[in-house]
Subunit: 205 residues, 2 copies
DNA sequence: TTTGTATATTACTCATTAGTAGATTGCAAT
DNA sequence: ATTGCAATCTACTAATGAGTAATATACAAA
């Protein structure tokens, strides 16, 4: 049974509304950063795209760098969560790697993931860059761990984990540049094709 | 025997001097675009880095977009030339692909090649984007041709040329983001490691 | 009823920077 | 000599855009 609709909001509801607005702002910002680049996007534009004014962004998110940093943090969190989850999955090391890479692809063609790939370190303060590097390193470490596990259990051929991690990351990052979800190949199909192609190269012979 | 040094320059010498200055300007611009991003780099900064003033850039190169476009054209020309040259080489298809990818790496960690990778299409006018797309397509076509030749002569295992070209391009582009020539691994060694790792995945089994 | 807090606005300031106008110097050809 | 062109500068303009101050409204708590 649902409670009668009341125009008076509880503290929780207000909290949720605020969070919803925050996320809407971040999504709008990430989308525009990705489409036009960080420096070519003005906060006035972002605000206008949601029908609000610039100071409102400052109210919810702070200055322009903080907006970007938040977008990057979300994207990297998604990647790290995906890696963590893949590592708990059952199956061979290669099975787990495949699961991770597939999700890596989906994240990378989404607003926040694309933001991580398209933004150079240059845009942030040295403090921000340090934090960002640390987060990226965590993802890279997780990726290498998956590769090593696969080598150890024999599901992946003997390769150099470091170089392999770099080439895999590069191959997965590239679609953020050109792939469009509204194109002829749907995301699942594209992910499958790319990941299959990479896995074939890693299969033991 | 050398001609006596004269302070009076011939037309040819002046032509050469002009060209040298043009290239110095382009190199300086590309370097700063790569380090800080196109929009975060002012032409005043570029000029200052060479001890000249901004109008001089306009004299040699035109407006800011033209400066970038010239950098991108040079980078893409280098890639296309490398592809063309690799295709005339003797050996199996895979041998030629290896040669191309190795040069691809060297170009990608150089000023103009990095510029191609780091610049989004967004910065240019629609006219410029169209030209750029065409140049990129030429490089992609050449890469696919190399892959197909390798499949045909049996030196490369049966793969989808389109998807493989994308993953190879991605893996080769990635180092432009993080590789530093002054780091612990010299360019030749890094190129060899990356290319070997990719070739292993393409070898027939 | 008053006071405080969250949300949002308008209307500014101030710095940066693309691009231009106009002057200057020097060299070369007429 | 003079005219013209190449290279370069100083000094502007005009626009853009980050960030802030001051204000208004609504609602909730005291």
């Amino acid at each position: 049974m649902e409670k009668a609709r009341s125009p008076f909001k509880t503290a929780l509801q207000k909290q949720e509304e605020r969070e919803e607005k925050r996320m809407a702002l971040l999504h709008a910002a990430a989308e525009m950063f990705n489409a036009q680049g960080f420096h070519a996007t003005s906060l006035d534009d972002v605000a206008a795209s949601l029908g609000i004014s610039k100071p409102t962004i400052y109210h919810y998110l702070g200055n322009k760098e903080q907006v970007l940093f938040e977008c990057l943090t979300i994207g990297l969190d998604q990647l790290f969560t995906a890696a963590d989850k893949a590592r708990t999955e059952i199956g061979t090391g290669m099975d787990r790697l495949r699961i991770f890479l597939t999700n890596y692809f989906f994240i990378n063609i989404d607003d926040f993931g694309r933001c991580v790939i398209l933004s150079g370190d240059d845009t942030l303060s040295s403090e921000g860059v340090k934090n960002l590097r640390a987060m990226k390193r965590r993802v890279d470490t997780a990726l290498r761990a998956l590769i090593i596990e696969g080598i150890d259990d024999g599901s992946i051929t003997a390769v150099d984990p470091k170089i392999t991690a770099f080439t895999l990351a590069g191959a997965m990052a590239w679609p953020a540049r050109w792939y469009s979800k509204s194109g002829p190949t749907p995301p699942d199909a594209m992910a499958a094709q790319i990941v299959d192609s990479l896995m074939m190269g890693l299969a033991p012979r």
